[in-house]
């Protein structure tokens, strides 16, 4: 994940990072009885070469857009792997502990 110089929508030169994992902690109050918060992380940054996790669909899409088809949806920096988290759930039968999959982003890629 490296710094690179680019231009923002107003043409101003800015420093932006390439697609990578970024720390993010959120409240779980409306979702689970416990824990109160979790560091779920998020993916953010530019989808430019070299890609950290290149797959052919993304490479073809970038090439298609660079050839002038700027209205096509460009590749987006998103989680491509997750960890589970132990949480407390409430159901009519009772309160129970459970390993909830896809809670914490652990790896990012351009898709």
């Amino acid at each position: 994940r490296s710094l690179r110089s680019t231009r923002d929508s107003t043409g101003k030169q800015v420093n932006a990072t390439t697609c990578g994992l970024k720390s993010l902690t959120v409240s779980l109050f409306n979702a689970f009885l416990g824990p109160n918060t979790a560091r779920i992380n998020n993916c953010q940054g530019l989808c430019v070469f070299p890609l950290s996790d290149p797959i052919y669909h993304t490479l073809l899409l970038i090439s298609y857009i660079e050839n002038g088809n700027v209205k096509e949806r460009a590749p987006c920096c998103v989680p491509i792997a997750y960890d589970a988290l132990v949480v407390i759930k409430v159901k009519l039968e009772g309160t129970y502990i459970c390993l909830q999959p896809n809670m914490l982003a652990t790896k990012c890629g351009c898709r």
Binding site: F29, N30, A31, F32, L33, G34, P35, N36, V86, V87, I88, K89, V90, K91, L92, E93, G94, T95, Y96, I97
Partner: protein, 100 residues
């Protein structure tokens, strides 16, 4: 060398919650915590009274600044009102401080 004294917590496990059983040795209604200083209590509010579903050594909350088990704000999940507490003294999770 003496090892630090292990936390003891009230233990209750209404439906099979294997992970809580693994949090420390259980003897009747007491659990000796393997790797935490926090006790927890998870309750459902039934007929305006808290009913303990789980009392055990903590493996989820990871934080317990209080000596006594003070109820955190009630949560409504799946249309069920629940409260929980965490505390840091022996058997402190036997009672939850709660007012409806």
């Amino acid at each position: 060398q003496s090892s630090p004294q292990k936390r003891q917590c009230a233990f209750k496990n209404t439906i099979a919650n294997k992970q809580f059983e693994d949090a420390g040795d259980v003897n009747g209604s007491v659990q000796v915590c393997e790797s935490t200083q926090c006790c927890v209590g998870y309750y459902r509010i039934i007929n305006d009274q808290p009913r303990a579903d789980i009392l055990a050594c903590d493996i989820v909350e990871k934080s317990c600044p209080n000596n006594a088990c003070i109820a955190q704000p009630a949560q409504v999940l799946n249309n069920i009102t629940s409260i929980k507490c965490a505390c840091n003294t022996d058997l402190c999770n036997n009672n939850i401080n709660w007012t409806s």
